[in-house]
């Protein structure tokens, strides 16, 4: 007798599985990685390699020790390491990179139940953790190797420069990333390539990064009254990087489309508030972290309305 396989419908599934989505995110991060290495030198690669390897090894060992199913092959740990590294400066001390990665993976992700269960973005939280613990070595950004402006102050990034009223790199240099900053955050061009790729692959909706960036731009314009300053606010710091790669994280943002949009607006608003009125020159990771916390509530407020409950006009 033939033994038939019996299971619930549907009997066909999409090819776009979770590892494929993770791979797409990794591919989308590559332009920023390459740009970072070109702009800040080969030391950047060491930071990236350290973060990626420590993230994967941390997850592997955590699963081994706690006798959980091995999950490193879903590629998500690589993304955490990659995003964390790209948000650090190229001369970050290696041991601090290791601590940040292990913190992001073990404390933020694995202890909450692994992929899909963490409430906060591991990379954003890891970065905030490092920034607070090691501000003496990790604040600001490293100096670019290639620049059109030789008078740039070592270690200074444009945001504190805006705050101090110092001379700024040109908008084009800002767009290309020829300025002080973190490895993956500076080259806006590379980030846009990644953004377009993710949208084209339908991994992310274009609205979230757009709303977050637009919120910062509009608020800066209203309060500052200067288009140029507002543009610097958009191009400087980790805004575009965070908007494309952290605020679009599935796990830690609301599940509905409207919810995601509210989340993006909140990220933009808090980023603006911290940058404008706070002590920290940069607010993107803090903003995302705060919005992660209220994400479940946004989801509650934006439940989809069932077709049968919509009523006839």
């Amino acid at each position: 007798m033939n033994k038939l396989i019996v299971s619930s419908s549907p009997h066909i599934k999409t090819k776009h599985d979770t590892p494929r989505i993770m791979l797409d995110v990794i591919i989308a991060l590559l332009p920023a990685l390459i740009a970072g290495v070109v702009i800040y030198g080969i030391r950047a690669l060491l930071v990236v390699a350290t973060c990626v390897v420590s993230s994967v090894v941390a997850e592997f060992l955590f699963n081994l020790i706690t006798k959980k199913e091995q999950t490193v092959f879903d590629l998500s740990a690589i993304i955490t390491g990659l995003i964390l590294a790209l948000s650090l400066r190229a001369d970050a001390p290696i041991w601090q990179c290791v601590i940040g990665s292990v913190f992001a993976i073990v404390v933020v992700k694995c202890l909450f139940g692994g992929l899909g269960c963490n409430f906060a973005n591991p990379a954003a939280t890891g970065r905030v953790f490092l920034l607070i613990c090691f501000s003496s070595t990790l604040a600001g950004g490293s100096l670019p190797l290639i620049t059109s402006n030789p008078d740039l102050v070592a270690g200074a990034t444009p945001l504190p420069q805006i705050a101090a009223g110092a001379e700024l790199p040109s908008l084009l240099d800002m767009f290309l990333g020829l300025r002080g900053g973190s490895i993956g955050e500076s080259c806006i061009l590379a980030l846009l390539i990644g953004f377009v790729y993710l949208v084209a692959r339908k991994v992310i909706n274009f609205e979230v990064p757009l709303i977050m960036v637009a919120t910062v731009f509009v608020l800066s314009l209203i309060v500052g009254g200067d288009v140029n300053v507002a543009l610097y606010q958009v191009l400087a710091g980790g805004l575009v990087f965070g908007a494309v790669f952290m605020a679009t994280d599935y796990v830690t943002t609301p599940i509905t489309r409207v919810g995601k949009m509210i989340f993006a607006f909140g990220c933009g608003l808090i980023t603006f508030l911290i940058r404008m009125y706070g002590n920290y020159p940069e607010g993107v990771s803090f903003a995302i972290l705060f919005m992660n916390i209220i994400s479940p509530y946004i989801e509650q407020w934006t439940k989809p309305r069932a077709l049968g409950k919509r009523g006839n006009k």
Binding site: T14, P19, L115, K309
Partner: protein, 440 residues
């Protein structure tokens, strides 16, 4: 009017160009009494009794039910218990065929002069909705007459992959579709318009239907985008008319009634011949079928007979499905019969049937974005983890689980391959059971 969640599926309509071929008369047919939505029919034959093609062997039980007729001539071998593919059990009549296919001498075309007689005739024919759900057609006709109906929708969307039965009806049986629509126009006076809805991946059918109805100002042939689940009743009514069918209501509650196009063609055939609904045309396809075909077979023919006729690779059978790949039910036994509403039989290879690796839910929201009914399947997953029966029921109800139409879109798009539809089905049964126990 907001756009409903839809998905793009591979079409795989390999049999779209193929006319149906008749299967050789099977030696045995098995007729389960529950082949549709509604109360199971009641057997009215005894073991040893001889029957002909079209002899009524089971009577409808109450209002929402359908009579069952013998599709072959021969002898009743068994009337006994039977386990359906959906896990429920009912009685079944087994008839051994004499190979003669002798027609019941009592068969004559019914006399129809008004709406009531049309309903009565269709009730006698045993017809159920042929699109898949299998709601007794006579009940729909009664709604169309008694309720305030302004639109009749003839559903030729056929949005599931592989299936081309309705497509062939519209091409080979265009004449019967036209006659069927004429019957509706003649006996059901209410409707001002009749819409024939077809997905745009069936250009020949659209052309045929447009030509066939060119002279009829009441009939509109509408080509719809090929997006799943375009043909689902509630979403199709919304797409065509912008009307929302409230939960727990029928299309007739919002002024329309929907018939599957092959059901409509059967009206004409039945009024002309009086032969009840005993033969089923179905698409036989899938990776384990060497010669995909549209097959016309007696209802009750075994899956084995049909798959043999289509040269299936029996050594490489993984799953055999009643219906399309999105909503089809997996058969557990090759000797089980096809039902009145079996519009396709798909045999999938072992490689295609084995479960794929699952990952944890990453909260991507694709299931929410693509749900045609505006639901959040992950909310049902969370609700089902609640231990208290009452709290669980409350959570499921507030998430509108009963709105789910089992279309399969959520599971299809899920990158982590979560068993969402399976959970939806369990959740619906769980909630219904809790609600029923509260009533008692």
């Amino acid at each position: 009017m907001s756009k409903l969640g839809k998905i793009k599926l591979p079409h795989r309509k390999h049999t779209a160009e193929m006319k149906d071929s008749r299967i050789p008369t099977p030696s045995v047919v098995v007729l389960p009494m529950s082949q549709y939505i509604g109360a199971p029919a009641i057997p009215i034959v005894k073991v040893g009794q001889t029957v002909c093609v079209g002899t009524k062997v089971a009577e409808a039980d109450g209002k929402v039910s359908a009579a069952i007729h013998s599709p072959v001539s021969g002898t009743v071998k068994k009337v006994g218990d039977f386990l359906l593919a959906n896990g429920k059990s009912c009685q079944a009549i087994t008839i051994e065929s004499d190979g003669e296919m002798t027609m019941d001498p009592g068969i004559t075309p019914p006399t129809v002069t008004n709406a009531e007689e049309l309903c009565q005739a269709i009730r006698e024919s045993g017809l159920v909705g042929l699109g898949g759900a299998g709601f007794p057609t006579a009940n729909k006709l009664e709604n169309a007459i008694s309720k305030n109906i302004d639109t009749i929708i003839v559903n030729g969307a056929e949005c599931e992959p592989y299936i081309t039965v309705d497509n062939r009806t519209m091409i080979d049986g265009a004449e019967n579709v036209v006659k069927g629509v004429k019957i509706i126009e003649e006996y059901i006076p209410g409707p001002q318009q009749i819409i024939v809805a077809i997905e745009n991946n069936k250009p020949i059918a659209i052309k045929k239907m447009t030509e066939a109805f060119a002279g009829d100002p009441k009939v509109k042939v509408v080509a719809l985008p090929s997006e799943y689940p375009q043909g689902a009743e509630k979403t199709l009514v919304y797409t065509l008319l912008g009307r929302v069918i409230p939960d727990g209501k029928l299309p007739s509650d919002v002024g329309c009634v929907m018939f599957n196009v092959t059901s409509v063609a059967f009206f004409a055939h039945y009024l002309e011949t009086g032969i009840p609904y005993v033969w089923r045309t179905l698409t036989v396809d899938g990776s384990a079928v060497k010669s995909p075909k549209n097959v016309t077979a007696p209802i009750g023919t075994s899956l084995r007979d049909i798959l043999t006729f289509c040269d299936a690779d029996f050594d490489n059978l993984g799953k055999v499905l009643y219906g399309g790949p999105m909503m089809g039910i997996a058969a557990y036994d090759l000797d089980a019969p096809i039902y009145k509403n079996t519009n396709a039989l798909l045999a999938l290879s072992k490689a295609e049937s084995l479960p794929k690796k699952q990952y944890p839910c990453i909260h991507c929201g694709k299931c929410v974005a693509h749900c045609p009914m505006g639901l959040n399947p992950t909310a049902f997953v969370k609700a089902m983890k609640i231990e208290s029966k009452d709290e669980r029921a409350e959570a499921l109800q507030s998430a509108n689980v009963l709105s789910c139409i089992d279309c399969g879109s959520c599971s299809y798009v899920c990158p982590s391959r979560r068993p969402l539809v399976e959970n939806n089905k369990l959740a619906k049964n769980d909630l219904r059971a809790t609600l029923a126990s509260k009533k008692n």
